[in-house]
């Protein structure tokens, strides 16, 4: 009986260790490039109130004329460093993928067929194809090809 109990315990541990989630490394593309090139694109194309400019969305973008981190901010005050930093972190989280970064939610969902729920008046996703200029900026940034800060 005691031996059976040990087998059950050891078996449970083995199964549990098999199911234990693997650690996930969150990509960390350049913050300076995000601030200069990526953040304005996300504000323009994603940060709307009913889209990714609301507090209940995991991916959200803070900024002027949109969701403000500090409710004391005037609507059109320039972005605060906190808002850009938080937007960067949220955007990083959308790059997590077991597949190449092109398959991450940030880059895959915004293309046709990517499963993005928000479509425009013509039924299109955010970017028509990977050759879109703004999409290209997001892609190069996510790949680490846009890097203005220190490595």
């Amino acid at each position: 009986m005691g031996r059976l109990m040990w087998l059950v315990v050891l078996g449970s541990i083995a199964v549990a260790s098999c199911d234990a989630p693997e650690s996930v490394e969150v990509p960390a593309p350049d913050y300076d490039a995000f601030e200069i090139d990526v953040y304005p694109i996300l504000l323009r194309d994603c940060g709307f109130v009913v889209c990714h400019g609301r507090e209940d969305r995991p991916f959200r973008v803070y900024g002027p004329g949109r969701l403000r981190f500090d409710p004391e901010s005037e609507p059109d005050d320039e972005p605060t460093s906190q808002e850009v930093w938080l937007s960067y972190q949220r955007t990083r989280s959308m790059l997590v993928s077991a597949e190449p970064v092109e398959q991450s939610p940030l880059l895959a969902k915004v293309l046709p067929g990517g499963g993005h729920q928000g479509v425009d008046a013509q039924g299109r996703s955010v970017y028509p194809d990977p050759s879109d200029e703004s999409y290209g900026v997001l892609l190069r940034w996510a790949r680490g090809e846009l890097w203005y800060g220190e490595r």
């Binding site: 002027p64 969701l67 901010s73 059109d76 972005p79 008046a121």
Partner: protein, 242 residues
């Protein structure tokens, strides 16, 4: 591309993440759409729902019934070089009404040209509470959009004349795209009603090709300058008779 340096936040500031409430704001006037996004603008998005724009006013404004907007004067088919008077009417009611509209081709580029009524033809409902003409034109965006808009200023009517392209050889359709917001005068985009309009206007040439004959669509109207010249001629003729 807007480039603006922002300082890296100190680690201590991140403690505030879970403690601070957030505020939701929106565009208070269409004039902001052409401003850079980091200045609270639309970064070039006009929210008309056209092919190049995609999104409408309803990506921010929400929470009330769609306001009624009468649109008159659009032709059944446009004739090359003809001028049409678009007439928009809405109930001023409470709150604040504003819109942005544009005439575009299939790719979303502007087609034709626009004109606003000259000062002496402006009617009272077309004026802001301040007395100025409400409807404004803009060609600042990409230099190739024919855009008209009114701010939330108390007007309840707007006219704008659209002159169709002089060449209809390609038999292409034109589209009127317009986003109309009736806000509740709050500082948030909640509680606002939105009406989006998308009307295709085929070219008369394409209709003629399709039907084998010219179509007698809605007749083009005289441009503003013709109304003024004709009026001056009538007045001058009356004086000579005396």
């Amino acid at each position: 591309m807007v480039r603006r340096a922002l300082t890296w936040p100190g680690a201590g500031r991140l403690v505030l993440v879970g403690l601070t409430l957030v505020g939701v704001t929106g565009f208070s006037t269409p004039a902001l759409f052409s401003e850079p996004v980091v200045a609270g603008g639309g970064g070039g998005r006009l929210f008309t729902g056209s092919a190049r724009d995609g999104f409408g006013c309803d990506v921010c404004h929400q929470g009330a019934v769609a306001p009624a907007l009468e649109v008159e004067g659009l032709p059944e088919a446009w004739v090359a070089g003809a001028t049409y008077t678009l007439w928009l009417n809405w109930s001023a009611g409470s709150g604040a009404a504003s819109f942005v509209g544009e005439f575009v081709d299939e790719q979303g580029w502007g087609v034709g040209s626009l004109a606003t009524p000259p000062a002496d033809l402006v009617e009272q409902p077309e004026r802001c509470a301040s007395g100025t003409l409400a409807v404004r034109l803009s060609d600042v965006l990409e230099g190739a959009r024919t855009v008209f808009a009114i701010p939330a200023c108390g007007a309840s009517s707007a006219r704008v004349q659209w002159t169709a392209p002089s060449d209809d050889a390609e038999e292409a359709s034109a589209w009127l795209h317009l986003g109309f917001v009736h806000g509740d005068d709050s500082d948030t985009p909640d509680g606002d009603g939105v009406t989006m309009i998308a009307r295709e206007i085929p070219s008369a040439a394409s209709r003629a090709s399709a039907e084998g004959c010219r179509v007698a669509g809605t007749g083009p109207r005289a441009p503003w300058w013709f109304v003024l010249v004709a009026g001056a001629w009538v007045v001058g003729r009356g004086r000579r008779r005396r």
